[in-house]
Amino acid sequence: MPGWIWAPAALGALFVVLPLAGILARVDWARFPSLVTSDSSLAALRLSLGTAAASTVLVLLLGVPLALALARGTLPGLRVLRGLVLLPLVLPPVVGGLALLYTFGRLGLVGRWLDVAGVQLAFTTAAVVMAQAFVSLPFLVVSLEGALRTAGGRYEAVAATLGASPTHAFRRVTLPLVLPGLASGTVLAFARSLGEFGATLTFAGSLQGVTRTLPLEVYLQREADPDAAVALALVLVAVAAAVVALAYGRRAAGGLR
């Protein structure tokens, strides 16, 4: 690696780290403990962790097969699909929420049939999970598809000639090989779910303990008490940092073996 790389790299790091310092500088440390342990804060934190975990599971269940199909499949329409799957990344979350509303809402494309069947999603915790999954799915798919492409099919071919069925090869060879990509995709998806705001607000609403996740709580507190909002934002950052550190820590250790 050329030495001069460090200069722009440091600039890049500063660009991200400084604003985080900017937040830290604004925290009212005296009130911090009481602010973050209020009922509403704790309820929001609990809900956020629960829904982010659930949506990450949903994203894994849908996204891993999707990434595999995109990386290894040979159907003609796949290239178009690959582009479509990325679109939630570019949609402003509020528009994404609108799209979900127009689809799964009571009057939506699919929602009207669900409504007939007695299933109502709006204003439920399930809606939060869906909104989070919608915005985080592309993160997983993109990371994983890249890893699958670089891992290539050579090891899978060897596994096949050793008698491994595609399913066996998938579980015992493909998945372990792309574990770093899968791990970073999962972390990204979880983090994105944790930070999700616009789509949740639009599609799921904001009721304490049911749909008001930490970012929504931050947003709400900002109106009334900016100090509390900053303190909560800091909690969000800390939780996210812990998750990221944990995942990356394990990954780095795995890479050493």
């Binding site: 071919a157 596994a159 096949a160 000639t161 050793l162 069925s165």
Partner: protein
């Protein structure tokens, strides 16, 4: 064809079109220059490549054909050991070897026990707990061999299994493979005639995507019909045509009965640039027929080298003036590469001898190899460019038809 494994298929993109049959329990050595299509043949068998022409069948079942029939690789029972070891990097050595038993449904414990046995067989038990990244190239290949064996497949394809092994470790694995391949259907890609002798009943020589030679190992390596096969067996091979008037006991191909009587029949063939060459027709081979393709084959050790002024004369000897191209020390002897003709008569002789010209063996310039002791070479003061006379006794030359 009542062969067990039948490949009568082509892949136009790689310029490969092969028709090959392998009997059950037969072991075939696949040889040929780089790019000849050896690995492509294996890909077609293993199901890693789809033929765009013809079909591949095993035990009466069509594995693949150009019209779309397709048995996926894992249901073919054909294990492939590739040129690169490709050990699964996330599994330990033991788990790598246990992979195939596990895939076949064995319990974890049973699979690991089986893997342990195979590792022991290849002398790699001590490596069981390592990761593939911690192995040297040779160690990795050894483990890959164990992994392929552990699959206990119907057909085993080995693509240069010894490529990365050192001279010291290879014999042990050769012995192992010889033991385990006995009675199995196996194809082995190798550049080493020894492997063909030891591991195969038959040799298939590919050139330019086509089968160039196909016969029992003894036949191909002891009575080669192509320069490539002769080169493999360490023999000189000169291509020519049978004499207008046959000099031997018979005059046609049907006269091979004479040769099979046990007495070697004398024969002459004519070779461009050398004139007539005398030799004997080996047992079981065909008498050269007038005007048809024939070859003269002899060992480099049977070629004597003399200074131009004191060459011996008189029948039954072949005497050829030649130019030294290169001296190649080979352990206990020196191999002299010669081009027939004198320097004056062959201007522009710069260096090419068998195999130099280009990637293909077919383009090789005709050359003669002679093996001398270092002392003899020093005495004759041989240097590249020197003129010499090569002498080969007729009894040391095999001539036969290859039409």
């Amino acid at each position: 064809m009542n062969a067990y494994l039948t490949v009568d298929a082509g892949l136009a993109a790689r310029g490969v079109r092969l028709a090959v049959g392998v009997g059950q329990g037969e072991r075939v050595a696949v040889m040929g220059p780089n790019g000849a299509g050896k690995s492509t043949l294996f890909g077609l068998c293993a199901g890693l490549l789809r033929p765009d022409e013809g079909r591949v069948a095993l035990g009466g079942q069509v594995l693949a054909d150009a019209s779309g029939a397709w048995i996926p690789p894992h249901r073919r029972g054909i294990a492939l050991l590739a040129q690169e070891p490709l050990l699964f990097p996330h599994l330990s050595v033991l788990e790598n070897v246990a992979f195939a038993p596990r895939a076949a449904g064995a319990q974890r414990g049973a699979a690991r026990a089986a893997a342990g046995r195979w590792l022991e067989e290849v002398g790699a038990s001590a490596l069981a707990d390592r990761r593939p990244a911690e192995l040297s190239g040779g160690q990795a290949q050894r483990v890959a061999i164990a992994r392929a064996l552990a699959a206990e497949p119907r057909v085993l394809l080995l693509d240069e299994p010894f490529a990365a092994l050192d001279v010291d470790a290879a014999p042990a694995l050769r012995r192992l493979l010889r033991r385990v391949l006995a009675g199995r259907t196996a194809l082995v890609i190798t550049h080493e005639p020894l492997d063909a002798h030891l591991l195969a009943d038959r040799v298939l020589v590919l050139e330019g995507g086509r089968a160039a030679e196909d016969g029992s190992t003894a036949e191909v390596l002891e009575r080669p019909r192509s320069r490539f096969a002769a080169g493999l067996a360490g023999l000189n091979l000169l291509q020519g045509i049978g004499p207008a008037a046959a000099a031997g006991a018979g005059t046609s191909r049907s006269s091979s009965a004479a040769a099979s009587s046990g007495t070697a029949a004398g024969a002459r063939i004519s070779i461009e640039g050398l004139g007539e060459v005398s030799g004997t027709v080996p047992e079981g081979a065909d008498q050269p027929a007038g005007g048809e393709a024939a070859v003269a084959v002899f060992r480099p050790a049977d070629v004597s080298v003399f200074a131009p002024h004191d060459a011996p004369h008189g029948s039954p000897r072949n005497v050829w003036p030649a130019t030294v191209l290169e001296l190649e020390p080979r352990g206990a002897h020196v191999r002299v590469h010669c081009a027939p003709g004198t320097e004056a008569s062959r201007p522009g002789v710069a260096g090419p001898s068998a195999g130099e010209a280009s990637a293909g063996a077919g383009a090789a310039a005709p050359g003669i190899l002679a093996d001398l002791t270092p002392a003899a070479a020093a005495e004759l003061d041989l240097v590249p460019g020197a003129g010499v006379v090569l002498v080969v006794k007729a009894t040391a030359v095999s001539v036969y038809a290859v039409g």
